[in-house]
């Protein structure tokens, strides 16, 4: 049984079909990136999964049951969603305490989590004065109160500085290593590319791809950039082999559908002189862009509905 299963989910807000027959699943121990441009229906999907939004059609289950039917929701799934989630006049400690009481979680756990997300010193200050990073961490602490087996995070990297994103990445990795299933949404692929095992790409409310991140790249371009005096000769050899090669800046070439190892072997076998071989960092981003840029994304989706 998957930790998270979304089956034929549709949600209509007035004239807008925010989510359209969407299906995907998340297995325990995996981090799945839920990707799509703003307005693609990510937030609506996550809120439906958590019982906050009534689907127009389809079902969403966590460990086989709808959210509302879970015996111990807080101990099963934790969520960080967009949009405040706390009262600016209430301290972080009191915010977590109110949730812990409703969830039947021991209040000692509140202090434990505040320490875990490095908010111990700010615990008794009004949360309205917290920085963006502190707010995100307060949200994470709330999500982890019940020590849940499943985590759902909506754009957790939003507004975080590079250190914050790195902290988040390591944190999510350690949580997944403990066997938790994590579904993390983002509209910026690079934020989550290094964190996730798999991606679900949605656009205009429909799933257009669910694949391990490696496979997503494989079919569309290993993305290897080669520069050097013999780059032109290498390009000819690769083209003769049927590879997709394009010319980059300064005489460099970019091979879309070969791995670094494959290109390296060819270089060694032919005694080609190069100065640089690197995986093109942009390529993953380009794949994402290609998948989601058939038209301008509809702005009347989740953002306006929210």
């Amino acid at each position: 049984m998957p930790a998270i299963e979304v089956n034929g989910l549709s949600k209509r807000f007035g004239a807008t079909l925010a989510v359209d027959d969407l299906s995907f699943s998340v297995e325990a121990g995996k981090i799945v990136g839920f990707l799509g441009p703003n307005g693609a229906g990510k937030t609506t999907t996550l809120r439906a999964l958590l019982g906050l939004i009534r689907p127009t059609a389809g079902t969403t289950t966590i460990e086989g049951r709808p959210y509302a039917d879970l015996d111990d929701p807080t101990g099963t799934v934790g969520a960080v969603l967009d949009g405040g989630m706390f009262h600016p006049g209430r301290s972080g400690h009191n915010h977590l305490r109110s949730i812990a009481l409703a969830a039947g979680v021991a209040t000692e756990r509140v202090d434990e989590l505040l320490e875990l997300v490095s908010l111990g010193d700010a615990a008794n200050r009004r949360a309205g004065g917290y920085s963006l990073g502190m707010r995100q961490r307060l949200g994470l602490a709330a999500a982890l109160l019940g020590d849940p087996r499943v985590l759902v995070l909506d754009e957790p990297a939003n507004g975080l500085d590079p250190q914050g994103i790195r902290w988040l990445r390591d944190f999510l990795r350690s949580l997944a290593a403990e066997g938790r299933a994590i579904l993390v949404s983002s509209h910026v692929l690079s934020e989550v590319a290094q964190t996730v095992d798999e991606v679900v790409v949605i656009h205009r409310g429909r799933s257009i791809e669910q694949a391990p991140i490696g496979e997503l790249l494989a079919g569309r371009g290993g993305g290897v950039r080669v520069a050097g005096p013999d780059a032109g000769r290498l390009a000819d050899l690769l083209r003769a082999d049927g590879a997709v090669v394009s010319d980059g800046h300064d005489g460099a070439i970019v091979i879309a559908d070969r791995s670094g190892e494959q290109v390296g072997a060819l270089i060694a076998a032919n005694g080609i002189h190069i100065s640089e071989l690197a995986s093109a960092g942009q390529t993953l981003e380009e794949v994402f862009f290609e998948l989601t840029s058939d038209e301008q994304p509809e702005t009347a989706g989740e953002e306006q509905a929210a």
Partner: protein, 248 residues
């Protein structure tokens, strides 16, 4: 269930808004009772105790506002999301809010009437004016007043869940109490009915202190009428909550 109620009580106590409402309520009552008891020109044979304690009824609109904030504040700040994640059963959540806020209203009412009674019984004797208040009258006055304040808080909870927008809920609630009902009373027949059995009529009944003469309903009927309003709004609020998409 008790966890959800305790959670609501923590949420209620841990914002400045709550503290502000309590201080404003008690401050206003203390000021009015204190000043009237200290300087009003009473005749020596008068017994103004009843009217002075009755001043605690000023807590009524504050109690309504307190209740109106229960749900509307959660929507305003988006805390409704973590609240519903911890308590997904929305009917249960509304029941917990009603219990917590009803209790808070009850305590606010007891403190308000206690404060008015205390000030009255301390200040009047200093002026050699009788602070006498027959026991039976006192029980009726305080019991009715406290029940009224608790039920108004509960009515606010239901009304706030129906309206949801914080400013709209507060303006709507107070306007209904102080403007809409008084205006409706100008209409023939219907107006009479509103005056006797509307929110104002029910409050007059349960507290036994109507503005324009004797209330049309007695204390028990007035209390039951208020309870009926509270139940009606609670059901409407809970049903609407259950249907609502929580998008922020």
């Amino acid at each position: 269930m008790s966890g959800a109620i305790r959670s609501e009580l923590v949420k209620l106590r841990t914002t400045r808004t709550f503290l502000g409402i309590v201080i404003a309520t008690l401050g206003l009552i203390a000021l009015l009772v204190g000043v009237i008891a200290a300087v009003a020109p009473f005749e020596p044979q008068e017994t103004p105790g009843f009217d002075l304690v009755d001043t605690a009824g000023l807590a009524q609109p504050f109690a309504l506002v307190l209740g109106l904030l229960a749900v509307s504040t959660e929507f305003r700040h988006g805390t409704i999301t973590p609240t519903l994640l911890a308590t997904p059963d929305r009917i249960r959540l509304m029941a917990a809010k009603l219990a917590a806020y009803g209790a808070a209203g009850l305590i606010l009412g007891i403190v308000a009437y206690g404060l008015a009674a205390l000030l009255m019984s301390v200040i009047l004797p200093l002026r050699d004016i009788s602070s006498e208040l027959p026991f039976g009258d006192a029980v009726e006055l305080v019991a009715g007043g406290v029940v009224c304040i608790a039920l108004l808080t509960a009515i606010g909870v239901g009304f706030g869940a129906v309206v949801r927008n914080q400013v709209g809920a507060i303006i709507g609630g107070l306007a209904w109490m102080f403007m809409v009902e008084p205006l409706l009373t100008a209409i023939p027949t219907v107006g009479r009915w509103v005056e006797d059995y509307g929110l104002g009529g029910a409050i007059s009944g349960v507290t036994g202190s109507g503005f324009g003469g004797e209330p049309a309903v007695g204390q028990v009927v007035g209390g039951l009428l208020l309870l009926a309003y509270a139940v009606l709004f609670a059901i409407a609020g809970a049903l609407l909550m259950r249907r609502r998409d929580i998008s922020a």
